[in-house]
């Protein structure tokens, strides 16, 4: 059982800057959890606290039920992959992977077997005798991973390991990393600023902002049911309007957002008079040209009329920015096969009340 427990972790730097404020998290055995957030949100500090490179000002850090707050990194039994890979430039690939095993005092034969096993795992047996600077970025990444997991650590910590790779390679490595993590069944914590990476790789996502946790949940939950406007905006693309609830009838709330009135079916946690953020995803809007549009806002839907101000073709989809008559910009994506309109066209966007979230 390799669990990581954080309880009320706070990290305050001399000078009063609070990088992490009172965060708690339990990462279960074999689970893949991603800390995601904008730069400076405290995600790296949180990871470094688990690694032992930072000591928390307050709170409890536990690995395998043991309090490790002041235990130095070399006694924590962790594996870590760094953003710049941090392969030892003066050691061969073999020596790099063997390092953690050698330090732990394993026998030569066991080390040799384990190194070969790790090279098989990352599918790079031919690089054994090379120096790190003779490897491509993707190969260095794999060797760094092999080195980190070779001593069979309790926990694998990944600090933006894919950030320096180009997009194509990054996507390949996302799949690879997940494959290896599943195969080894190792408790893993990933730090990234890339929300797409977080969504595709993790069992659970922790969205961080300004030193605290905004939301912890499965990728599906975080995307489809964000708890705060920040999460909605950071994970994926979201249209966010602000307004006040003027009425709730038959589980449909009417929200008055300045000049626009929006209907939402998300009425569980709100009351008439509440100030709310209205959140809806670009893919939930259907678009028609204005001539064919049916009547205006019905009870079950909201209709926005406007003109296309920006059109971005992305291959399988087209992203439109629609400027409404009330001067708001709403982003929508449409499948290429369904619609194709030009900038300047008048269009009508329709949003079903079911797809419109209200956040306090």
């Amino acid at each position: 059982m390799s669990r990581v427990v954080l309880e009320g972790i706070t990290k305050r730097y001399p000078g009063g800057v609070e990088a992490v404020s009172d965060v708690s998290l339990v990462v279960d055995d074999g689970e893949f959890v991603t800390l995601v957030g904008p730069s400076g949100c405290g995600k790296t500090t949180t990871l470094r606290t688990i690694a032992g490179f930072e000591q928390p000002t307050d709170g409890f850090v536990g690995i395998n039920e043991n309090r490790v707050n002041t235990v130095p990194p070399d006694k924590r039994d962790i594996g870590m992959v760094f953003q710049d890979f941090a392969l030892f430039p003066h050691k061969t690939v073999e020596e790099n992977i063997a390092y953690g095993l050698k330090v732990r005092g394993y026998e030569r034969d066991h080390i040799d077997d384990r190194v070969d096993e790790m090279l098989e795992l990352v599918e790079l047996p031919e690089t054994k005798d090379r120096m790190p600077d003779q490897l491509s970025g993707g190969q260095q990444q794999r060797i760094a991973l092999a080195r980190a997991v070779a001593p069979e650590p309790d926990v694998l910590l990944l600090d933006e390991p894919l950030a320096s790779l180009d997009k194509k390679l990054r996507e390949t490595m996302q799949v690879e990393l997940r494959r290896i993590q599943r195969k080894l069944d190792i408790t893993t914590i990933l730090v990234t600023h890339n929300q797409k990476e977080a969504l595709t790789m993790s069992d659970r996502i922790v969205v961080m902002n300004d030193g605290h946790f905004e939301q912890v949940g499965s990728p599906e939950t975080v995307y489809s049911d964000p708890e705060t406007p920040f999460v909605a905006d950071f994970v994926g693309t979201a249209n966010i309007l602000t307004g006040a609830i003027s009425a709730i009838d038959d589980d449909i709330a009417t929200v008055d957002c300045g000049h626009t009135t929006v209907r939402s079916g998300d009425t569980d946690n709100v009351e008439v008079g509440d100030s709310v953020s209205v959140v809806f995803r670009p893919e939930h809007l259907s678009m028609t040209d204005q001539q064919t549009a049916t009547d205006g806002s019905g009870q079950q839907a909201t209709t926005f009329d406007g003109t296309i101000s920006v059109r971005r073709y992305t291959g399988d989809q087209i992203e439109y920015h629609v400027r409404t008559k009330t001067d708001e910009t709403i982003v929508t994506v449409q499948r290429v096969a369904e619609t194709s309109m030009n900038e300047g066209s008048s269009v009508s966007l329709r949003l079903s009340a079911d797809n419109c979230l209200l956040l306090n």
Partner: protein, 299 residues
Amino acid sequence: MSTEKSTLSERITENGFLPQAKYLIVSYPALALGLFFVIPLIILVVVSTFQNIEGGFFEPAFTLENYVRFFGSDLFQGRMIYTLQIAGVTTILSLAIGYPLAYYIATLKSELWRRVYLSVIVSSLFLTFIIRGFAWQVLLSSESIIPTLATAVGILDEPVALVPSYLALVVGMVYVFLPFMVLTLYTSIRDVDDSLKEASRSLGARPLRTFREVTLPLTKNGIISGSMLVFVLSLGVYVLPRILGNPSDWTLAVLIGNQVGVEGNIPYGATISIVLLMVVGVILGTGWYLIGGQRRASI
């Protein structure tokens, strides 16, 4: 492709220069090197084969007499070995004191403090060797603070002058050359990425092991460069042995000075210089081989 008939525009290379422009550009460093290094060196070699005439004169000749004299003389060979020895001692002590100091400064978190420490170290270079040599002469004289302190602590029986002596010379030389060692090592230690040390720690290596396996090997080139620099500079010391040492502590450079200035034997002075230069050459060559050898291995 007849070059004779090619037009000017054909002869202008892509970057807009005439092809011969490169010779002009290279000629400046070549000229400076030739004028200030190669030609004087040739003159030195030639003079070293000249015949000395009593009274500070010499006449052109081609004789190896001076070299025969040098390699046949126990005195001069003894001085050669002594010079190498004191340069070696200075280098080892500078490294032993300099590495921990450079490591401490290089790993300070505060950039301000790093700069303060470096400035202090560099500022000692603002004064010439001579003034610093005399400063040590005063500090080590019988009535001054160091012998008094040494007596109080019980290292000395009574406050005696520690200068002139071998010890005083070594202290003075280490003091003078330490900044070169520290600055070279500082750069090299700063170049070792923190994440490499953290990677080592995360893999289970304690701080000392991390130093031995990661920091030390990665600063090897700095250690070699710093040591070479201090060793070569030490081989040429002239002023310090005269201020802080006994005549028995005089280095080859002092003897060269005496040959030229006191004895008036310029060809023999040139000969000793050439021998010293060759020793320096061998040391530099070895150093470059060691650094280059490592680089080749990593390619």
